[in-house]
Symmetry: C2
Subunit: 551 residues, 2 copies
């Protein structure tokens, strides 16, 4: 034995920020402005919270639910539970009652910390979540008066007040769980991914690498991606470790408010799903000089693929590098990133060629491995042409679902991601689609993502969503739903003509539907399951199947 | 079990560079210019070398010595041994015959790969290193004709030729050894530090973090620090993982040649000991416009503390950030780094204040812990004043010496570093001195490093070395050895007067000796052990102890 056997526990990282940068601020948006506290205060409050949880009976491995926005108290819950060895079960605020009830019961959460403004959502589950012994309510301005019948309840500040500011973090096995996050399934009940210390420790270091997010102590980071979604993409952990300034939007998610927060707090890096960045773009296009964004240098965009035109707009208009990331709840979550310059040879590329690369899902983060396979699980060549099911493995990739192993999602030590894609000769992963979102037409696959990206680049299109509709002969055919932008009254013929500039005739949408909005999933992605369900409800039929023969 | 149990093996990282950047170059300096090969060629040759080693009987855990300069074949040896699970024993080219013989025998190296130009040094050990069954000789221009009686010998190219280019790296325990490096003791025999996969894996990720060395695939790195010294500070591993361009100086270490290499290859980051950067400074001052260094952005400086004046010179003159790093062979090696901007609050500091921080040993790399203690091992406050023995622990810190545990160097899970220092309220570690290099005068300690740094900033001083000399009353008193710079014929009185601007009377050197050069250790540090030994040989006495009463 030559080296120390120091366990890779998050407790070895999370107190570091407060030690090196005690006065750096953590800013939470409020109704009237912001609420601010230092790293040292946050660390001390997290240790107090750990004492309070322990006194409430929470031990190593017990699940503590959070039903919260991004805010300093949610960060304290991350910090306290990871330090003490409890398991943070982040409950998605946008779930249906049915799914929320299911995951609380399946996780057997013993205590839930809840933001007062969303308490009414939890209240609807009263009497149906028997494992929950206690509710701790975090209040902000305007929500001081709350009541609940869910369980024994206490206000957050009363819960932690007067507790000791020093909790001696226990030494536990590095493979112990520290988090639980359920992924909304396409069929059946949500499935839980159990995050572990060692895996998150490695993920925390990795996203700080220069070629990943290059997160630095000198940054001011605004994580817009909810902390209830896949550990907030790991940002809370890295920020706690580094001691960089954090800006947290809480429930104030409209683009104009986000922009004001980013400008006023001097945010240097932010992270969110494409729909957020599309909303921000719309506000900025309407009023280009309203916000001082000179300090903003990069935004990480994940959850679903941002249209290349959006990536380019941020660079050309704002000088902001949009870093595309790909991953899943099952991959802790970051697996690949795409940056403007990722290789030595890229220094010589034209800007256009650099952005062709950024439009790909990216290069694997060191330590992970990826493969694409055909239906018999035979590896396909990395030629940029062959398309197959994407498999991924590595130290922060899920090996089974929580109390619901789902062996068909795993093969040897590989996770079967459910995404379909290609790998090009430069080892870029290119996502074609979610398996379930591919349009299967006449034995060939049509990528809804490719059509959407192409449509999003057309003037007059704010958002595009392509879904499959059943067809007796071809099996499925694509239909485009379009949200119009600005005053351009763009029509079906222009949409189809635009698609025809790039796609083959058989790949063109059979129909174009103009809509006011596209429904979003609880994690901000376009909810194609709901789109398809609504079309079915409405008795939608493809034009050539209608009695009038269509357009 | 929620996450995959992927072992943290270097074999999971080292092939990555060739996969993502197959055409990126690895450049080795030669007598007449450079020798160049791609990452893909290097990777294939490393796999061939692994086959050759296996066929020569080298198995998992067997020691393979390298007696080599920094060059592509040394990199192939790193790659092959780590992949196949053998242990790379990097032999220091500058050791005495006695120590070299000792470490080869103590490590029980079975095979040694040697650069032909240094074969004569190994030849002197013929008959005294019985464990060595085979010598593999790597030749460069001008050294094609070699012979040896050390052991069965073969030329490197003949050794690997026609072997398969694909070695299936075995899955071994992540705590298996992958390297062995001996540290030159002040007393007794050299002590071996056994590097392990998991520890080096974490170190490899860490030095790529934005706030550490921020090593990127887009960099061109020139590691001047020998690869026989503490895994070349981890640079070979990180470069293999990222696929960044590598430039390797081989035996051509004179400053003018290094500068030509850095300029011609467009080096962006380099790493070496202070004496290297002092030599480079001297050449540049003599001929400021001879080299185009516009692409060089940062140099990492470690091994011993660079004088603050040197750090500042690189910034003011070249716009190059000198990153100070502190670590030991025992810490794999990097433990702290000091950069110009390490915290959010530093953005507001003046340049002078930023460089006051850079002059400190730095902030701990995340995951490590440090403590300073008094003689009874009681922790001392982090007040910037209290000075004590520095303890360090963490996942890449040594827990014992190889086949020579030395329990007095460890306490609980802490390594007792042998360095003395302070920790300031910002958690900066400040090294006062090696314990053995402190001057103990009248019960107080005088830091030789502080005096040296102050002296190095004086015009007319190229290098300063302060050592203790015995004194019957005060125990020890400091003596300064000075290498003069340029044409300024600086004298003793100016030296002492300059020291008096900052130090108390009792801290001033008792004597100043003007010398042509300071002897260096095998790792390029000032060799104070030799300085003291020479003074003793010469019968040196402090001025007031001489019969003439001194100056």
């Amino acid at each position: 034995m030559g080296m120390q056997r120091t366990p890779l526990l998050m407790s070895r990282l999370i107190d570091r920020g407060a030690a090196v940068a005690p006065e750096t601020e953590i800013v939470t948006a409020t109704e009237t402005g912001t609420r601010r506290q230092t790293f040292l205060e946050t660390r001390n409050r997290a240790h107090q919270l750990a004492h309070a949880l322990k006194d409430a009976g929470i031990g190593i491995g017990d699940r503590v639910g959070t039903f919260m926005w991004n805010g300093s108290r949610h960060l304290e819950a991350y910090h306290a539970t990871a330090g003490m060895g409890a398991v943070l079960h982040t409950l998605n605020l946008r779930l249906s009652d049915h799914d929320l009830e299911y995951i609380i019961n399946h996780g057997a959460d013993r205590l839930i910390i809840v933001d007062a403004d969303v308490l009414p959502l939890l209240e609807r589950l009263a009497g149906r979540i028997p494992s929950v012994e206690k509710i701790v309510v975090a209040t902000e301005d305007g929500f001081e008066n709350w009541s609940t019948s869910v369980a024994d309840a206490v206000e957050y500040e009363d819960f932690i007040v007067n507790r000791p500011r020093e909790f001696e973090w226990p030494e536990i096995d590095e493979n112990s769980p520290l988090g639980l996050c359920y992924t909304s399934g396409t069929t059946g009940n949500p499935k839980g991914v159990e995050y572990e210390h060692r895996a998150q420790y490695l993920h925390t270091l990795s996203i700080c690498m220069a070629d990943v997010m290059a997160l630095s102590a000198t940054d001011t980071i605004c994580g817009i991606v909810p902390m209830f979604h896949a550990m907030g993409w790991g940002i809370p952990w890295s920020a706690l470790m580094l001691g960089c300034k954090q800006v947290m939007p809480h429930r104030f998610m409209d683009p104009a408010r986000l922009l004001r927060l980013i400008a006023e707090e001097g945010v240097t890096i932010s992270a969110g799903v494409p729909t957020i960045w599309q909303g921000v773009q719309t506000v900025l296009e309407a009023d280009p000089d309203a916000y001082d964004l000179r300090r903003l240098s990069r935004v990480t965009c994940g959850g679903s693929a941002p249209p290349p035109s959006l990536i380019r707009w941020y660079w050309d208009t704002l000088g902001v590098e949009m870093i595309q990331g790909w991953g899943l709840t099952e991959t802790s979550p970051l697996a690949t990133v795409s940056r403007r310059l990722m290789k030595h040879a890229h220094r010589e590329l034209s800007i256009d060629a650099q952005f062709e690369n950024v439009a790909k899902a990216g290069q694997l983060i060191p330590g992970l491995e990826v493969e694409i396979v055909d239906e018999a699980f035979r590896p396909l060549p990395h030629d940029g042409e062959s398309s197959g099911e994407i498999l991924v493995r590595g130290p922060w990739v899920c090996s089974e679902y929580y109390r619901n192993p789902q062996p068909e999602r795993f093969r040897d030590d590989w996770l079967i991601t459910g995404d379909v894609g290609r790998i090009d000769p430069e080892e870029y992963l290119i996502i074609s689609d979610r398996s379930k979102d591919l349009v299967k037409s006449g034995g060939e696959w049509i990528s809804s993502v490719d059509l959407e990206n192409h449509l999003a680049a057309l003037d007059g299109v704010a958002q595009a969503c392509v879904v499959a509709q059943p067809h007796p002969k071809w099996d499925e055919r694509p239909v485009a739903l379009i949200v119009r932008a600005g005053d351009l009254d763009i029509g079906t013929e222009e949409i189809i003509a635009h698609c025809a500039t790039r796609f083959a005739k058989w790949q063109l949408p059979d129909d174009v539907l103009f809509v006011d909005s596209i429904p979003l999933t609880s994690t901000g992605k376009m909810d194609k399951k709901t789109v398809r369900a609504r079309l079915e409800e409405e008795g939608y039929r493809l034009p050539e199947l209608r009695e009038d023969g269509g357009w």
